[in-house]
């Protein structure tokens, strides 16, 4: 069964994307990235230190990965745009995950500012993947603005609550033609499998892996759950039934 996953025309080898924040060391982060087999990994520009003295996070990212810079810390479109431009100038490439979060309590994204930033950066040739609150109209606006995927949240960042926005994400999966990647809030591999069974193109996880007792094993567990969920989606699960399906039908005599 051929099941290729492409973003912006580029073949992506894994439907599991991993973030690089919150790990207890860069070495554990690197080992987790390897065991996750993630192809796209996100890095906050705010943490990239190209100075001589300190360790550089980019040195710990496996060479076969696509490094996608995120705009963590941006509170509005203008800051996100400036971070993206700086990232490109610092040699971090064209892949950019827009995070515009003007709320330090719930860490919820600002869709309106995200759309503005997406439009500006797509025009400048960035491959823009916006983190968003799952709203259909805004997702359509992001598509029109030139996003190469949309990344709706399953639950607020770092909560590990799972797919709380399931119904809204299901609608995005049905209606949006570019890849829908569920980002944030997935706390367990079963949550990731659930998102994939629903038909999400991929998932992105960070906290649940980074703060696990054994992040390397947890990364592997998520990776396998994503594969399992995808296979289940492709296999076409049976519908959930409210009534019993008897093997000896009561109305069989009518034939």
């Amino acid at each position: 069964m051929e099941d290729q996953f492409k973003i912006a025309g580029q073949l992506i080898n894994s439907r599991f994307l991993l973030g690089t924040g919150k790990f207890s060391s860069y070495a554990i982060m690197r080992d987790s990235l390897e065991s996750s087999q993630a192809h796209i990994v996100t890095v906050a520009l705010r943490r990239v230190d190209l100075g001589q003295k300190n360790e550089n996070i980019l040195d710990y990212i496996p060479k076969n990965c696509i490094t996608m810079t995120n705009t963590s810390g941006a509170r509005n479109a203008e800051e996100a745009i400036r971070i993206a431009r700086l990232a490109r100038k610092m040699g971090c490439g064209n892949w950019i995950k827009i995070e515009v979060i003007p709320d330090t309590k719930y860490l919820l994204p600002d869709n309106a500012e995200t759309i503005k930033a997406t439009e500006a950066l797509a025009k400048e040739g960035f491959l823009v993947m916006p983190y968003m609150n799952p709203d259909l109209m805004d997702a359509r606006r992001l598509v029109n603005a030139g996003a190469v995927s949309v990344m709706p949240l399953g639950a607020p960042i770092g909560t590990n609550k799972g797919l709380k926005t399931q119904e809204m994400i299901r609608i995005l999966i049905e209606e949006i033609d570019i890849p829908v990647i569920v980002d944030a809030g997935l706390g367990k591999p079963s949550h990731a499998a659930e998102a994939m069974e629903l038909g999400a193109d991929a998932v992105l996880v960070n906290t649940a892996v980074a703060v696990a007792v054994d992040p390397v094993i947890m990364a592997q567990a998520f990776s396998q759950a994503v594969i399992a969920g995808r296979l289940a989606y492709l296999a076409g699960p049976g519908a959930v039934k409210e009534e019993a399906a008897a093997s000896s039908p009561l109305t069989g005599f009518l034939r």
Partner: protein, 367 residues
Amino acid sequence: MSFYEEYQKYKEIDIDDVFARVTENDVLRAINKESLEVNDFAALLSVQAGDLLERVAQKANEVTRRKFGKVIHLYAPLYLSSHCENECVYCGFRSSRVMERKTLVPEEIEKEAEVISKTGIRHILILTGESRKNTPLSYIVDSVKILSKYFSTISIEIYPLTEQEYKELVSIGVDGLVLYQEAYNEELYKKYHVRGLKRDFEYRLLSPERAGSAKMRTISIGALLGLAEGRKEIFFTGLQAAYLLRKYSETEISVSFPRLKPQGGTFTAPYNISDKELVQFMLAIRLFLPGAGINISTRESSQLRSNLIGLGVTRMSAGSITVVGGYANKQKGDGQFTISDKNSVEETKNMIISKGYQPVMKDWQTL
């Protein structure tokens, strides 16, 4: 409503009575709640909660890991000037004290910046005494311009400014404001702050709001522990932090827990805050405000700092020198307070790593 007005309302409540009525059940409920209210916060600050400290600690550890990860941010303080026009009875820089005063000139600032940045520190906190005459805003602006060549995050701990002045500093890349109320007990505040502009309790209390309106990225507040009854001081600190979080949702609010370390004189802290109380206060703030940063400076010993990792701390100073010009010139001088943790940046990093956490040197990129 400003926080001063909110503060006035709370002052009418008998807070001691609120603390005294807390039951074990109230504490357990607070531990198990996802979103705490002011009553829950008070429960965690009560004497009663002291008996359940381990359970509070476990929850705080889990919340902090989820919210911030297994990382500790490091920064270093840079004292630019010891000139001060205030008379604060507990402070080493108080105006009446006969001592050699110094304000760094640009070449000296550059030298200090070179020494500090060589340790890998990328977040600098600049401090001055409170003297607009010796360190006017233009001096701060010039200093920030020099320091931005060396550091990616610049915070200030200087005299309170107007909103317009905060805006000016934000526009040249200042990220953070550190401004401690020192004492939330207004009567005692007046007693400790004898002369100078700092005597104006309300103006100081409302400074974080002016900085918030000016879109400052981070604001750290705190009470100088030892000046007044600790439990109540932390209660008001938490209330102010919650107020700021509500009103300036874009700004990261942090809480510091400086314990009074007298310098240059005979002032003795009238209230003793034990290690256990310090931990209890910190944990209560963590559960009440899961998204707030928590800072611990080198006022505390390296042993205590090491034990506090995992209890909610998110930021620590390292390799600190509180003598003006002291990084480049190791000669003895009068600092603002006595440092307990004299470990180098490298030693502090190793301590954090040994606790299973990652020391983070850079956490912002000047735009």
